[in-house]
Symmetry: C2
Subunit: 138 residues, 2 copies
Amino acid sequence: MIKMEALGRQILVEFYDCNESKINDVVFIEQSLIQATKASFASIISHNFHKFSPHGVSGVVVIAESHVAIHTWPEYRYAAVDIFTCGESIDPWIIQDRLKDLLGSENVSSMEMKRGMFRVAEGQKLLFKPDQKLDQQN
Amino acid sequence: MIKMEALGRQILVEFYDCNESKINDVVFIEQSLIQATKASFASIISHNFHKFSPHGVSGVVVIAESHVAIHTWPEYRYAAVDIFTCGESIDPWIIQDRLKDLLGSENVSSMEMKRGMFRVAEGQKLLFKPDQKLDQQN
């Protein structure tokens, strides 16, 4: 029997009604994303954040398992967050939960997407890790 | 009359059946994302790419209008791309079209999401640019 499996999971999070001053603070946002990412035990490769004038922050944490990105609109008390992970070793929802608390969001809308869908035979699995032996070609 | 408007647009692109060697070449991938982003006239703030061993590339171009991110699985000839833009001055589909050609993808699945939905009164608009005068609070 053939089934569909995904290489990656992506959570698109709409954080409404955030703490306006916190989501306008580039240092706080960078520390929050790093802290939330570490809580999931993801492996951080790099992080890069920017403050816009007069308001707004953008930033990305690149992880071995993909990335966590944020864009904030303090004037609307809104932050858009993407949490993209692959593999089964980390839980992206840990990152979402931690960020909800840190940003003080009182109204959260989240959706999980599956990325990279492939057919695999029953009893076989997609290989998420580059150093796994590739014993099956889709 | 009240209508819904979005702060951002995000295109999630599944590039299947890509050129395997091209999507395993970190220099080629970085140059391709920069070239595609410039074609849309977005303003590049930073770019950061990584090669995984033995295969796979991850990278992000942060733009003033949000970001473009890629993760490749050469062993599956697959690349996941996210194109997140705000404002009305750039067209994210230009980036998608250019990347399709550069990655040699023969099977593309794309979906556009609206991010940051707010109610606005008729005749008024959301303000995308931080330096616009904020003359309306939602």
